[in-house]
């Protein structure tokens, strides 16, 4: 079903809206939750909570991009749950995707740490705006959606090695950009 029609169903308060949303974007949402939380019931619960979140927010919201909108809710819920999880429930693959970005942002041990996350987000946003579309999607899929390199390679129908090279170059460019912007020494 067309996304516009699904949103109309939410506006009509039809429960079919949830079914259509789940049928169309359920696997996408579950993958995102699993990427952050690891496999398990946590991810499923998170996705169900996200559907409820969409139900409660549409209307009044009328999202321009339904997959983008529901993904944001899933990610917010998953990250929140992940932060509250005990160390035993840490998801190494999610941590490793954040690790990869470790070099690009201030270490937290110096005055640079005074730079707030929102300022760094704005700088990151400007950086993303200057990237070509392919590199930008690969970057966002890897670090925001926490996709594995293999999943991204399959999405772009290319090799894992090629995706790793693109990510590595983009991180180098980001580091250079943040230095030039004065947010990284």
């Amino acid at each position: 079903m067309d996304d516009g029609k699904i949103i109309e169903l939410f506006f009509e308060r039809s429960e079919q809206a949830i079914e259509e949303l789940s049928g169309k974007y359920g696997p996408l949402c579950l993958r995102l939750a699993e990427n952050i939380l690891g496999n398990g019931s946590d991810a499923e619960e998170c996705v169900n909570d996200a559907y409820l979140g969409v139900w409660n927010s549409v209307p009044p919201a009328r999202p321009d991009s339904l997959p983008g909108y529901v993904s944001r809710i899933v990610r917010n819920l998953a990250v929140k749950r992940y932060r509250s999880n005990s160390a035993a429930k840490r998801n190494r693959s999610y941590d490793s995707s954040l690790d990869e970005l470790g070099d690009c942002f201030p270490s937290g041990d110096s005055v640079e740490d005074e730079i707030g996350a929102s300022e760094l987000s704005r700088a990151l946003d400007r950086f993303l705006g200057g990237l070509d579309r392919r590199s930008r999607i690969i970057f966002v899929r890897r670090y925001w959606h926490s996709d594995s390199v293999g999943d991204i390679a399959a999405m772009f129908r290319t090799g894992k090695h090629n995706v790793s090279v693109i990510l590595s170059r983009t991180r180098r460019k980001l580091k250079k950009y943040l230095k030039e912007e004065g947010v990284l020494q």
């Binding site: 079903m1 996408l28 990151l124 993303l128 966002v140 999943d151 399959a154």
Partner: protein
């Protein structure tokens, strides 16, 4: 990483603009029809790579066609279906509203609706062959042909070597002759020496063997002659022509026989001219045409109807594929240019078969690096980032980098009609067999090595040669392992 540090990075990522996260979410949804999966869909592995090209070509065909006002939904739908049929687009898998949305998207030239690209892409048939595993058996590195040059022409094969001798007056060696040997089915038919001729190539015709080359110069003030000779099947030189066309450096790409027995010699002069001479079977030059074609060399020539199709090789580093169609006298008729948006294509061979042109090629992912060696850039990155790489990993990196592609092109419109791909391989030679089959060689990597100290190449390896056969109607007949090995050097 400390948990609080991870949290801070996560928080920074939270602030990424919606437009970028939407873009990435929609991309994933579009690619998977609502699901994200790591599995490759069989039979569609590389359609996307040609997708942009295919779409662009098709768009040229459809832009400017039907545009009407639509009052009733049913009328719009009927119009949309008619439009799809007229332009050979498939409605399979599309809902009624999808059909209308794609239709609107195309005629309004917006191309923003998610399914439009899918529909346009589907208009060109694509197939990914799943090849038998070439393995990584320990094989002896294959060495390329050494001193003797070799050329195949039907059942005849030719090999030649240059002989030099010291000129006492000059005090250094100059070319004495080229020794040419012709074999048929493995038996030597004849050997001929061409004094003072630097041989470039030869091919078999009904009048005998066409041999072409140039004179040997050691001083730029010396006149440059192109040379063409005819040798009978008994090894007698029937005639030899030394041609002064006012070209300083010429490179004859091919001499082809026409249906009336005349020969057409096609070559590139001074890096910017296409020259075409037509000769009678007894060596008389009937016509000569020289055309400025910019900084292009000629990589391949194939017959096309009563004329020829030339694959050009850019001398300025341009990466698209350029084909020029000429009539039998050398007058340019048409040209076609192809480029992918995320891949570079290298055409290795082309042939006319069943009235269509087949291009054998390989693709590599587009690189952002400026400068040369685009084809190898990802491999060199891999080597420098992984100094402790194993051979197995290098072979895998090569397989990830290359995809063999066979493209079927309509000779009139120049548009691709179908293509086939094989991952982890290079597209090799195309041969039309005596049985009327088209055979496509696909070279699959089985071993590799890095050779930074070699001047002529950086990465070498061995490929196992697989052969894919197609029937006279273009239908795929099967693949086989030829048991042959091919030396890869870049």
């Amino acid at each position: 990483m400390r948990p609080d540090r991870g949290e801070k990075i996560s928080e920074i990522l939270d602030g990424i603009s919606d437009k970028y996260t939407d873009e990435a979410a929609e991309f994933a949804a579009e690619k998977s029809g609502g699901t994200v999966t790591a599995k490759r869909e069989s039979g569609s592995g590389h359609i996307a790579r040609w997708g942009v090209l295919a779409a662009c070509l098709l768009l040229f065909a459809v832009i400017g066609s039907t545009a009407a006002a639509f009052a009733a939904e049913s009328k719009e739908y009927n119009d949309a279906v008619a439009f799809f049929e007229k332009n050979g687009l498939s409605v399979e898998g599309l809902s009624r509203s999808d059909v209308k949305a794609v239709y609107r998207d195309i005629i309004s030239e917006h191309y923003t609706y998610g399914k439009t690209a899918e529909v346009l892409r589907g208009a060109v048939k694509g197939t990914e062959f799943i090849q038998d595993d070439p393995g990584q058996d320990p094989v002896e590195p294959v060495m390329p042909d050494s001193y003797w040059r070799v050329s195949e022409s039907g059942e005849f094969s030719y090999s030649w070597d240059y002989r030099y001798k010291k000129n006492e007056t000059l005090g250094f060696e100059i070319l004495e002759c080229t020794a040419l040997e012709c074999s048929k089915n493995g038996s030597v038919l004849w050997t001929v020496e061409f004094e003072g001729m630097y041989l470039y190539g030869c091919s078999h015709t009904s009048s005998g063997t066409a041999v072409w080359g140039s004179n040997y110069r050691w001083d730029t003030r010396q006149t440059y002659y192109q040379m063409l000779a005819c040798v009978s099947d008994e090894g007698e030189v029937l005639w030899r022509a030394d041609l002064d066309k006012g070209i300083r450096y010429a490179n004859t790409a091919a001499v082809m026989e026409n249906s009336d027995g005349t020969w057409t010699m096609i070559g590139n002069g001074d890096g910017s001219y296409l020259y075409v001479s037509v000769f009678s079977p007894d060596g008389e030059e009937i016509s000569f045409i020289k055309t400025d074609i910019g900084k292009n060399g000629i990589r391949n020539v194939t017959r096309l109807g009563d004329g020829y199709l030339l694959q050009m090789a850019s001398l300025t580093g341009r990466n698209d594929v350029l084909l020029i169609r000429i009539d039998r006298f050398g007058n340019p008729v048409d040209s076609f240019s192809y480029a992918g948006d995320d891949c570079l294509y290298y055409v290795t061979d082309m042939v006319e078969f069943g009235g269509k042109v087949y291009l054998s090629a390989y693709s590599v992912p587009m690189q952002e690096d400026e400068g040369g060696r685009h084809e190898l850039a990802a491999i060199l990155d891999f080597l420098f980032e992984n100094p402790a790489y194993t051979e197995e990993e290098l072979v895998q990196a090569l397989r990830d980098n290359y995809t063999a592609v066979l493209i079927l092109v309509d000779p009139e419109a120049g548009s691709p009609e179908a293509f086939y791909s094989v991952s982890g391989s290079l597209g090799g030679e195309l041969t039309v067999t005596g049985d009327g089959l088209l055979e496509w060689d696909v070279d699959s990597f089985v071993s590799a090595f890095f050779s930074p100290a070699t001047s002529s190449f950086s990465v070498g390896g061995t490929c196992r040669v697989f052969c894919y056969s197609f029937g006279p109607d273009g239908a795929f007949e099967g693949q086989r392992d030829t048991g042959e090995l091919f030396a890869y050097r870049r």
